[in-house]
């Protein structure tokens, strides 16, 4: 069997299972999730042993320590996956919710009901805990899942998926509802994203190259989990103490994630007041500053930002700073250089707060809060499969509801069209 046939076989099994899974009760799905969590805890030693293989390979290959860190599955990581699954078990099941029902003049009752998408394919890189999160969210929302993790985590992913599938089928879920593509050849991705007769959604999480390859070649609809070039705009009427706390938190609290701030925009009228203290605080926290010309006029010893900097997702303790002449200038900058992920304004002015909320076209737009809150748990959606930076099918953190579609149901009593 060649790669294409192997991928097709898995997709076909997933599709067959999805029809059964769509009818499984919430109680059975929740029991399966809890059993899957227990399965991971029981399999701790096996998981760590398999993870060792990946880590050894990563060391041999000379991968960076950051990457090796993300790859590592220790007791805490395994417990985290298990508790993630248990948390999903207690979330409300979106399937079967009738979101709206209305009556037409001819007596037809027309309603919309949430249904699973069917089969969700997930293409992701490095962190093996994504495997458990993705399976949990897909199972709960009634979807079969096809996993395609990175080659660097292949042994860990195989071990996790096999435990999850074993627990799931014992708990009554259909065999086939969890599929792992265990072929590390990149051709498997190319084959997978062409299977629009089998897969309903591809979620792509990873670097720009991966996202580009998937978007350009997929015939299945794609949800992109792409870069976060996030901004904080300090307005001239900002509470400068609040602005400092928010700006510091957005950059420093966890710089390596997509909702961390990459560019700070400051109104020219408050720049001289605000920036010296702010930059000092950043420097003390080890943040490298790259400023515009006007920033350098105030703090001469910062590095000058290049045009490229404004587009860059550093994911690191680096921050670009630009002084803007007004809110329109700030919004223009965000629209031009941003990635439509998360952007915040700090202001006491009502009209500018409302203007910013309205005009900034990003998945999450904030007034007076840190962009670091863009997260399924922080928003109260429960776990997330990723953060969509596109406008379809959903935007922002993708939770259980975002893994469903809605179909129309129509209750008649003999209506025909005249």
């Amino acid at each position: 069997m060649n790669i294409k046939e192997m991928v097709l076989e898995k997709a076909n099994k997933a599709k067959l299972a999805s029809r059964i899974l769509s009818g499984v009760s919430t109680a059975v799905k929740d029991k399966a999730l809890v059993d899957m969590a227990e399965g991971l805890l029981d399999g701790k030693e096996k998981l760590k042993k398999e993870n060792e293989k990946d880590l050894k390979y990563a060391h041999d290959k000379g991968l960076s320590s950051a990457l090796i860190d993300r790859l590592t599955l220790n007791d805490k990581g395994i417990e985290g996956m298990a508790s993630g699954l248990k948390e999903i078990a207690v979330l409300p099941d979106p399937v079967g919710e009738v979101t709206h029902i209305w009556q037409r003049p001819n007596g037809l009752q027309v309603g919309k009901i949430r249904v699973p998408l069917g089969v969700v394919g997930i293409i992701y890189e490095s962190r093996p805990n994504v495997t458990a999160d993705a399976v949990g969210l897909c199972v709960k929302s009634g979807n079969s899942v096809i996993l395609r993790g990175g080659s660097e985590a292949i042994n860990s992913n195989i071990a996790i998926a096999s435990i999850l599938l074993n627990s799931a089928t014992k708990a009554g879920l259909p065999d086939g509802c969890i599929q792992l593509i265990d072929i590390t050849d990149r051709q498997a991705i190319m084959d997978m994203i062409k299977l629009d007769d089998y897969i309903d959604l591809i979620v792509a999480r990873g670097g720009i190259d991966l996202i580009k390859t998937v978007t350009e070649n997929s015939t299945v609809p794609v949800a992109k989990h792409s870069a976060g070039v996030c901004h904080t705009y300090v307005d001239k009427d900002a509470d400068l103490k609040m602005a400092e706390e928010i700006s510091f938190n957005a950059k420093v609290q966890r710089p390596g994630v997509c909702n961390a701030m990459e560019t700070l925009l400051v109104h020219k009228d408050v720049a001289a007041d605000f920036l010296p203290n702010m930059i000092l605080r950043y420097k003390n926290a080890g943040v490298e500053i790259r400023g515009c010309k006007e920033t350098k006029n105030i703090i001469p010893d910062v590095k000058e930002a290049s045009e490229e900097d404004w587009y860059t997702e550093y994911l690191d303790l680096i921050l670009s700073i630009k002084i803007v002449k007004d809110i329109d200038d700030a919004i223009d900058h965000i629209m031009k250089y941003g990635s439509h992920h998360s952007d915040a304004i700090v202001t006491k002015d009502y009209q500018r707060a409302m203007k910013f909320l309205k005009e900034v076209d990003s998945a999450a737009v904030y007034v007076n809060a840190s962009t670091r809150f863009t997260d399924g748990n922080e928003f109260g959606l429960g776990a997330e499969l990723g953060i969509s930076t596109q406008k379809l099918h959903s935007r922002g953190p993708m939770g259980l509801e975002d893994l469903t579609s809605q179909k129309y149901i129509i209750f008649g009593n003999g209506q025909i069209r005249s």
Copy 2:
């Protein structure tokens, strides 16, 4: 300027206009829609003259009379376009609706608000009235629109779009919000569907070849308006008189549209009672019947259906009939051969009605009504841009809401993440 550059220029104009359009008030948009309707009525003679060119070309090319019929713009057709625009003007504006807002334990208020998609590209065939519908729906939902109609309607489409743009800009909409690709070369489609930095959604309406080309090559998310292989299942506990009326209506009332029935499924226990009268009525209406073996056992003089027939969208007075052994057999048939568009059950049995609603995975699932109701107006959504046969971003008739996305808005008072 080559084709690629021309398409890019139009897309760029559309994108620039979309940012302005997203902030235009409902009152201005509604006024523009009414003015556009008046513009079409005032331009009747010009429109008919331009349409004549298309009709002459169609005649010379020997196109079918059905196609020429769809292409023809007469007074009634123009009045229909105008009243369609006026109807859109009175529909509620989806933009700005906060669909949900909730408070988090830290005091953050997190909400979801409807926003325009940005730029919608529409690729369609033949009927020039789609041009006015598409522009009306996009303008009302705050989106710029890029139209790419069929080459056979190019003169009509240019004339319609030019009147609409003229009225729109006079009423205060941004220049550039209505773009027509006036290059009939198919290369323009290929260039358009690669512009994911400019276009947010491609709506593809047309034959299987067009849909396939667009799906396989687009890097922009695509909404498919594809085939409708719709079924009616007459259960053993159906009211047979009601079943006859619904089955007749679903096939005969307007056979050339996507929500017309193509296959009738009949429970074996009622087939001998139900089919003779039903088939006689169909034959009197000029419907050609293609039946399964069991159907032929009851009515020997019908043609036998081939495997291919079950997959076929006839769009004509042709019907395939299959006798099934139970509801599961009926659902299996629909899942295998159907196009997930619209399917109905006729039954008096509560449990089978509910089972059918739950298990049939189609955009619209009916109990005791004709599939012909799958339509934006009939469902009460107002006009529609097409009927989506896929699960993302929306399913079924695409109205104004389906041309919006939702972004998160977050109201804070200094929250930072710990």
